[in-house]
Amino acid sequence: MKRILAFSLLAATIVASCASPGTTGSSPSGSAPTGQHPKIGLVTDVGGLNDKSFNSLADKGRKDAQAQLEVDTSVTESKQQADYVPNLTKYAQDKYDLVIGVGFLMQNAVWKVAKQFPTVKFAIIDGAPQDDGGKTENLPNVANLFFKEQEAGYLVGVIAATMAKEKTGAATHNTVCSMGGLPIPPVDRYIAGYQDAVKTVSPTTKILNGYSQDFVDQQKGIEVGKSHIGQGCDILFQVAGGSGLGYIQAAKTAGVYAIGVDADQADVAPGTVITSALKKVDVAVFQTIRSVRLSTFKSGDNLFTVANDAVGFGKLDKIVPKTASDAANQALADIKSGKITPKDTVQVK
């Protein structure tokens, strides 16, 4: 008897919980596509929407587009690598006009799905479609969104070199350093631009570079950071994701300066992070969505640069002298006008 009572109570609860929203008429959240505006789907990689980096920036670009352009957008988070293909496929099956994949981890998944749906447009951030053998194959319906990281590296390099030259604050050893995760092209382009700027602005400044061999492990970043600081570095530029946070941590512990990467990392360690080399994924996503809206979508490599305001430098700490910020702004204008072309190969390994 007790059981029956419990069940009927439960049934009542279910009915109640189902009925109430209908009567109050709460509206479904606004991101479900309606009407005949272009439909845009964004698929994150396993980092998820709260990674404070590529995924959250890409989603910001999507939201900006939703607000400013006449498009209907939605987003799907990937929980694990096995989700990439079904998540991309789902949007393609639902006849979305553009499906955006975030990050190089999705190169193979985008290749697979884009081949199956030749009439759907795809875009991949920081990558290009890659076949099962790992070879890059450009597809007529896929835009590869690449960034000129060397330009962002150059801008923060100008700031670092100026501070080293003028011995601003704790930067007393005239030595600047950088650390990558792995020596892969997007990482090395940042570092190449950084070194190019230092050599140009302050030829006497010593340059060191290293790799943590990891994009996750903070401890490895701390180790490389300690070693660099031991060799006199007092401005440390990280290009190593989570591992790079350890590099910043080492700078903070030693009371020297660090430079963030990709997103604005001023909040990671205020007073330590003097600025960040920015890769404005949100701008790239917004501009790609707009290209679909305006029917100017271009497949193959799409380069995002200071010229279209998609790379740059972040918030400046108050320790950064006006001479340094002026020099960086001047460099920004010079790159835009073509007067300066930052190198994209690493000189000091």
């Binding site: 929203p21 509206s27 989700d83 998540n87 193979n108 790992g134 996750v216």
Partner: protein
């Protein structure tokens, strides 16, 4: 309302007759009541969360169901998501049946995936007829060795298997980083996407649904392997003397020892079998879904498996249904996010409450039992 069958405490040494088909149906009819109820309660709690976040729970669940089963393609994808959960669920359940708590299905799955991926690329040029059995054996063997270590430590040194399995889960994650980021298995042309070299064509599990039937379906032959594994699980436990001894150890290790069953020996054995199931799951993911091993390709199969085994009451059919439910959560959750605008993390909340309710049920039952009887000394 039928009473839920309690496991009868038969005296040691008395062989229980194999259950007839009628008995089994009766057990299954009586069994699912609690799991189904716990899922319903979890769904209700999930609905409250949706309401709090200012959304419509009916729309959320409608999208969840539509995403998981709305089209033939979605149904096949739900099954694809469920396959590894079936295998890891079996790995957890068979250890449960022997009184061990296998938290290590995750690690065992990864070792199986790595072993299968290594064999699949090392002997890539062999024909499928030869290569496929090799890859399957490597998957099962890799997992079995990794699980066996846990059993051995438990049997020889009495080390708690919960601790060793958790530690070994971490160990393999880092070994995997090394192998796939800058180690012997790293693919040269995939620098930046940490992955192994692709496995040979003969090591790929074929897609079994033709494109004419369901366009772009990824449902691969791994579903057949999973079905075989479920039958093997049932056969070992209820149709062999070994299975009888395993269950005897699970019901009471001391009593079993009195009856001449060596618990230590069987703990090693069952952990190896459990590891074999999970390892096969890893092999299926590599051969059926990816065609290579990606670093960190799986983060939660082994942990969801604990919920799957509990929800499935450690029974073969129960595990299949629980895995399908969780597979539907995984695949439908993405659709719910894109089409109803509700974070797919809701699925994680529901899964957590399923576990919570089941655990609470077990707690209540053990409390009420203790009140009635003298406490039975438990064997850790």
């Amino acid at each position: 309302m039928t009473q839920i069958q309690q496991p009868t405490t038969t005296g040691p040494g008395i062989e229980r007759p194999a259950p007839s088909v009628r008995q089994l149906t009766f057990q299954w009819a009586g069994g699912p009541a609690i799991p189904v109820l716990s899922v319903v309660i979890a769904l209700i709690i999930g609905a409250i969360f949706v309401l709090f976040s200012g959304n419509d729970p009916v729309a959320a669940y409608a999208a969840l169901v539509q995403g998981a089963f709305g089209t033939p393609y979605d149904i096949t994808e739900t099954i694809v998501s469920a396959i590894p959960l079936v295998l890891t669920g079996l790995a957890v359940a068979i250890a449960f049946r022997t009184g061990l708590f296998n938290i290590g299905a995750q690690g065992q799955l990864l070792v199986g995936a790595l072993a299968a991926g290594w064999a699949g690329s090392q002997f890539a040029e062999l024909p499928g007829l030869v290569l496929m059995p090799i890859v399957i054996l490597f998957g099962i063997g890799g997992g079995a060795v990794y699980g066996g270590i846990v059993g051995l430590l438990k049997a020889v040194r009495g080390v708690n298997e919960v601790i060793t399995t958790i530690m070994l889960n971490y160990t393999i994650v880092f070994v995997m980083h090394w192998l796939l980021q800058a180690g012997p298995m790293t693919a040269k042309n995939a620098f930046g996407t940490p992955a192994s070299t692709p496995i040979g064509a003969g090591a790929r599990l074929p897609v079994i649904i033709p494109n004419e039937l369901v366009l772009f379906s990824r449902l691969h032959a791994g579903v057949v392997l999973a079905a075989i594994a479920v039958v093997v699980f049932w056969f070992i436990l209820w149709r062999t003397p070994l299975g009888y001894r395993l269950r005897a150890v699970g019901l009471g290790a001391r009593a079993a020892a009195q009856a001449g069953i060596d618990p230590a020996h069987h703990m090693v054995l069952v952990m190896a079998i459990a590891g074999g199931f999970a390892g096969l799951g890893g092999m299926i993911e590599v051969s059926g879904v990816f065609g290579r091993v990606y670093d960190g390709f799986s983060s939660s199969y082994g942990f969801d498996a604990i919920a799957v085994a509990l929800l499935g009451k450690n029974s073969p059919l129960g595990i299949v249904f629980a895995a399908l439910l969780f597979g539907a959560f995984v695949h439908g959750g993405a659709y719910m996010q894109s089409h109803a605008g509700i974070s797919s993390n809701l699925v994680a909340i529901i899964q957590a409450f399923v576990l919570f309710v089941i655990a609470a049920e077990a707690l209540v039952r053990s409390l009420t039992r203790r009140r009635g009887r003298k406490p039975v000394e438990a064997i850790a």
